[in-house]
């Protein structure tokens, strides 16, 4: 298996595609459908070239190449991380056996389902972000949007490759289905709820790339542990690309907070809306919304499916190999906090293996907390007495044990009336969204930036902020 990517092929790849005529034909059949989808559902804004990162190798060093690329000509392809020939199954009932290079018949349906669900999220975010290019706050941000978009497209390719290569005709049908469902479509929506929400403004985009893409990071992290080696290697490489999306989210929110802090000091008021900034309590509302919608992506706290996937070795825990336990979890227990009917919290002891979604979510929550700390440090450094907080995991949930309960951001269980009264304080209202949208004017001049966000501390690949990241028509 060459580590180097074959860029001469119609579909760039490092999986020896030219030697597998059947697979090549299948993927070449899918390619125009993908291009058609990109044309219909991809970014609305037309450009003459975007300074994009393209993977040229999957090794540890120097894997990316930067250049201006006409977006539809981006070379989407199939890149798997290097193979470890000695890799063994790290958990579940097959622990210690060599990893699988083929799909075991017994787990065919489950693996296919996992890949389809992961695959379904990738093009979804492109669809959600379709219109954002029209209101980019700077060329730097516009470039990042396109980078995120093409890589989500690439991640779709990664899942489609697995479906085509290992799941036969049904896999090909499912690969086509990934393009037939569309975010928010009334007829054929995306499978998971969060991917049918609108990403209507750039603050939402930063929040999405911080919170929702971070869910993606953790999901990919668990699939990277999979005993099905091609899936593991695919996800490993996707994680490399995903890191950039996190960076866009983290620094994006940083920059909004930085700018808001500047405006607060400049005008000596928290009410910076009239001065073209986004008030801190509004940012908090966005955090509340995007964080909780993303928590829903982890699924129900107790999950038989997740347990079955774990036992079968299909999907592990975050950093499974670093965990110090038996990697079977049949004898371990863990407590689950849950809302009781009388408005109090109770807890129940359950088998750890049934709480894997909760385990993953806890890792995620801790990670999200680091961002909040960063943003609070910006405020503290500016001498502003305000702190962002992640809401309680029971707040605003549609999935799992908290759905059907009304929980405040502080974690108090309240009745319907209290919830309705508080909702406007906790979640973005229509007026809030309209206000944020009113700030969204495109700034396409080199070196210029919109009023509501600070410029980045550094540019891309050592280029300055005023570099012409995007050539516009």
């Amino acid at each position: 298996m060459p580590e180097k990517i074959d860029y001469d092929a119609k579909i760039p790849n490092n999986v020896n595609l030219s030697e597998d005529r059947r697979l090549q034909r299948a993927l070449e059949g899918w390619q125009p459908k993908f291009m058609h989808w990109w044309g219909e559902m991809g970014p609305t804004l037309e450009t003459q070239g975007v300074y994009l990162r393209t993977a040229v190798s999957v090794g540890r060093e120097g894997w990316a190449h930067f250049d201006h690329v006409n977006v539809p000509d981006y070379r989407w392809g199939i890149f798997l991380a290097e193979r470890d020939p000695d890799r063994r199954i790290a958990f579940g009932e097959h622990q210690g056996e060599p990893v699988w290079q083929q799909v075991p018949g017994e787990y065919r349906a489950d693996l296919q389902r996992l890949i389809v669900i992961q695959g379904d999220t990738e093009p979804a975010s492109v669809e959600q972000q379709k219109l954002l290019g029209l209101t980019a706050p700077s060329l730097y941000d516009l470039r990042n949007l396109f980078q995120v978009n093409v890589e989500e497209g690439r991640h779709l390719w990664a899942m489609v490759y697995l479906l085509h290569a290992y799941f036969g005709r049904e896999g090909r049908d499912e690969a086509e289905g990934l393009l037939l469902r569309n975010s928010g479509s009334p007829d054929a929506p995306r499978i998971l709820g969060a991917f049918n929400e609108e990403t209507a403004d750039w603050l939402a985009f930063y929040m999405f790339t911080y919170f929702t893409d971070r869910d993606g990071k953790y999901q990919l992290g668990t699939l990277k542990e999979s005993s099905f080696d091609p899936l593991s290697r695919t996800c490993e490489f996707m994680l490399k690309e995903e890191a950039h999306h996190m960076m866009v989210g983290t620094t994006g929110v940083d920059r909004v907070v930085t700018r808001s802090a500047e405006l607060i000091r400049e005008h000596d008021t928290l009410d910076i809306g009239p001065h073209g900034g986004i008030p801190l309590d509004l940012i908090q509302k966005y955090i509340n919304f995007h964080y909780t919608v993303s928590l829903d992506l982890f699924g129900s706290e107790t999950s038989t499916n997740a347990a079955n996937y774990y036992t079968a070795g299909l999907k592990g825990r975050w950093q499974e190999t670093r965990r110090k336990d038996d990697h079977k979890l049949t004898d371990d227990a863990r407590r689950l906090e849950k809302p009781a009917g009388d408005g109090t919290w109770t807890s129940e002891e359950l088998q750890a293996i049934l709480l894997l979604n909760l385990d993953l979510r806890s890792e995620y929550v801790a990670d999200c907390q680091t961002g909040v700390k960063r943003w609070n440090k910006i405020l503290a450094d500016a001498g502003i007495d305000f702190a962002f907080r992640l809401p309680h995991p029971g707040f605003n949930r549609e999935v799992g044990i908290n759905s059907g309960h009304h929980v405040t951001p502080g974690g108090t269980i309240v009745d319907e009336a209290t919830w309705e009264a508080g909702k406007r304080k906790w979640l973005p209202t229509t007026e809030d969204l309209t206000f944020v949208r009113s700030l969204m004017h495109p700034v396409y001049e080199r070196g210029k930036i919109a009023s509501w966000v600070a410029p980045p501390r550094q540019g891309i690949n050592g280029k300055p902020f005023d570099y012409e990241y995007v050539h516009l028509t």
């Binding site: 349906a109 049908d173 037939l180 007829d187 054929a188 347990a307 036992t311 049949t330 088998q351 293996i353």
Partner: protein
Amino acid sequence: MTTTTPVTFDRRPDEYRHWRLRLDGEVAWLELDVDEQGGLVPGYELKLNSYDLGVDIELYDATQRLRFEHPEVRVVVVTSAKDKVFCAGANIRMLAASEHHWKVNFCKFTNETRNGMEDATAHSGQTYVAAVNGTCAGGGYEIALACEKILLIDDNSSTVALPEVPLLGVLPGTGGLTRVVDKRRVRKDLADVFATRPDGVKGKTAVDWRLVDELVPRQGFREAVEQRAREIARESDRTGEGGIELTPLEHRYVDIEVAKDQVTITVKGPENDPGDLHEEGANGWFLAMTRELDDAILRLRTNEVEAGTWILKTVGDPEKVLAHERAVLGAKDWLGNEITHYFKRTLKRLDVTSRTLIALIEPGSCFAGSLLELALAADRQYLLDGPPIDDEDSDERATIRLSEANFGPFPMGNGLTRLQTRFYGDEDHLAWLARERDHVLSAAEAVELGLVTDAPDDLDWEDEIRIALEGRASLSPDALTGMEANHRFVGPETIETKIFGRLAAWQNWIFTRPNASGPEGALRRYGTGQKAVFDRKRV
């Protein structure tokens, strides 16, 4: 699973916990909205619109009311009130925690309810249409299969599935396997693929394989289903108005006496001559008796599992029974039709009841026509040839009578009458019986015609019956169940007999096997995240 309080089958639409019945002229909507916390027995949550016996009892109640209370309804749309999920089928934790007999009885009842839906479509012009608006698995798909048409939401992700074999190590036990190949004529190799994949089949493939009839776009799903329902309603021949209310049951005509291992069911004949069927409504003898008998069978099967022998008796005037029977069979309108088919279904329940059934025909009884069917459904019939035991001076003698009711309107699941089943292939004998129709038949004649097992005289009666019953009670209940079920259904197989015989037998066997029900079996391991351990030997 054991219950401390006996299960009842009385339900009212305004008290349903799991279904919503909405009427809109000739179309009725039955929407499944299972209350997760509303399980019949503690210990499980009914997630994802999964069901237990309690959910199904409500469904049965709804189907009955639609037939009797709503003659204007021509199409019943079965759908889910929950988003993205139609029905996940029988609740697995309930099954896993249940004792064997509970599982089997539950399966039997769900089967009878599904058959009842098909019966409504076939004989009452009340067509069931499944509007599958989300994931539909196992028993959920079996509900859809019991409908005449299956419409599947076309959202590129909703599937129909029968995942029992791959996920649980058991069978889709409510007719799924049978209906897929027999009713929907899915090719057997495709049926094999379908029933072994846990994730099911969606969209166009589901249509191509005949697993569903049509795809309906997600947007405007309800409107499209409604439009389809109206079209189907136009093709129905159901006519009628002035439905009759199924009032709460009074136990007037069916008496139950439970001893430890034996139950005596006494059906009382009508006191008066028949009046107007519609005016009498649920108070009319035939319907009231049928409802009480139906309820008695269901409650006894569920609550009295160790009472292995049921003694069937009747008391009353045979002439009045026949007069009421003629009023029903001769009514030639929707209500007469409904009562006829309801009595037919109730007799079918008796046919598939796993209890020894013994009919005791004594002086003062009224085993005539439709009530003689009770005796013919029994495994043995004893007729007392002499005066009543407690009044040896009386002239009263036990007799039986054949009527038109014994020659067609109440077929068994095998499509034959109980007489055709009893004298299978003996056309001459059946012709002879036809000539004896409407005659009062004495003990000697009943013996000669082969309509009773034995006719002991009054000196022998008590000992004969005691010995027969005691002998019966000493035999293995399992062997008896198997033997009786074999004897009761001769002749051709139908979808119904396959479901109750072949499919149920396999399921019962599988349910007791360690691969399903052992500590490491698939049913017990389900939901633990651990995989089942199978004994790989094929048996």
